[in-house]
Symmetry: D2
Subunit: 132 residues, 4 copies
């Protein structure tokens, strides 16, 4: 499991007084940075190797401003060229949101997907979770 601390920002609240729903995909993207580094240790934007295929975000409870967040990040599927990232947003002992993101190992210049490199899948194994 990869753990990322996030501090909610005032601007991320909305008029209902909690964190707006559209903020969660941003936090989850931020918390995937260790996964990005498996592909590009230097986070080289000129040779980015990933593409996002799909994400699902499920809301279990309200997330609030004023208390720290922990995003827990797991790998829930390792495919040929793609993989799934499962993430949870925790605040004050409550799992408030969960998310599942499908990412594709992708060559942006050739515009085609590529097999996941072995040194990457080895790292992913360490963060594997079985979802029911």
């Amino acid at each position: 499991m990869l753990s990322t601390p996030i501090q909610p920002r005032f601007l991320e609240t909305d008029a209902l007084g909690h964190i707006n729903n559209t903020v969660l995909p941003m936090w989850f993207e931020a918390a995937r940075e260790p996964v990005f580094k498996m592909f590009s240790p230097e986070l080289n934007l000129k040779d980015w190797k990933l593409m996002l295929g799909k994400f699902t975000v499920t809301f279990h409870a309200e997330t609030h401003y004023g208390s720290d967040i922990e995003i827990k990040t797991y790998i829930s599927r390792i495919g040929g060229a793609s993989f799934d990232v499962y993430q949870e947003c925790w605040q004050n002992g409550i799992k408030t949101v969960s998310g599942l993101t499908t990412m594709i190992h992708f060559c942006h210049s050739a515009k085609k997907s590529q097999t996941l490199p072995e040194h990457v899948t080895e790292q992913m194994q360490q963060h594997l979770i079985a979802l029911d």
Copy 2:
């Protein structure tokens, strides 16, 4: 079908040169405004009646800066207290992204869900789509 025009903003691009993935939930939320108005014609924030349960966003093609967007919004399920909104993002004749959002008719002060009012479901019927 409800149609919402969106102009991509420069700041919504990312270093890959296209619209960042996290922007789509924002556009889809903006395009659900006519649905919000079914519940609150004045968009009264002090008596908001909706809660988001879950959303799934699927990326079919890159979305670019510099060309107008049309978001097409449909109702794909009408339940007892909840309903699903199906949305598509179109640019230059291409469906670049689709999204499915589950919303709940919710009383924020009582913290409980409520049956969808009949005058709302009647309006929703006009925008119904059958997803396979």
Copy 3:
């Protein structure tokens, strides 16, 4: 004067119930698109010719969700390589926010500023305003 309509998004509110302050620079950037087109009619991101030097945003009144916005955009200074854009945010007949942005005609590959082209300054003349 260049006029840009903006529809406030629910997510742009914050817990105080109005549009968050950090949203205004985004709306102002969106409303500078006609200025961007003076430099690059096709909005070509691979040959972008502008750099932002500085912006000041002044808040006169609250901006709300639920009513349309008009951003009025003027050129308030035409210099050698740089120029100032003056903008106002109007809602329900009230000027709620104003902004002043200094932009520089800039070659991102050579990393140096460049004289404003005459065909650009001619267009700018049409939107000139004298600030006191």
Copy 4:
């Protein structure tokens, strides 16, 4: 001086490959949280005591994705009901952006400004900077 670490998010880049200008007011707002706590130690959104009057953001160099940020926050003016916050964004030993924000001690229900409390100005004294 108050120091706040920030990790740039991939989504905060734009097509030019750096952090977009509109992101800086967000980081600066996040880094004013210790100032918010001077007024409301619990960050109580239902009794918020601040209003933003104006901000100026000046760009000195590009800010990049992939390296940590430090935001340095100072108080540069203590007035009767208002005060100024001066902030700098540092990355890899370079001051890339600076900002000056005027905030007002404000009662949102009475809609009027209020004298800064002494226990607040005492805390502000510790972070005072003299700008030239």
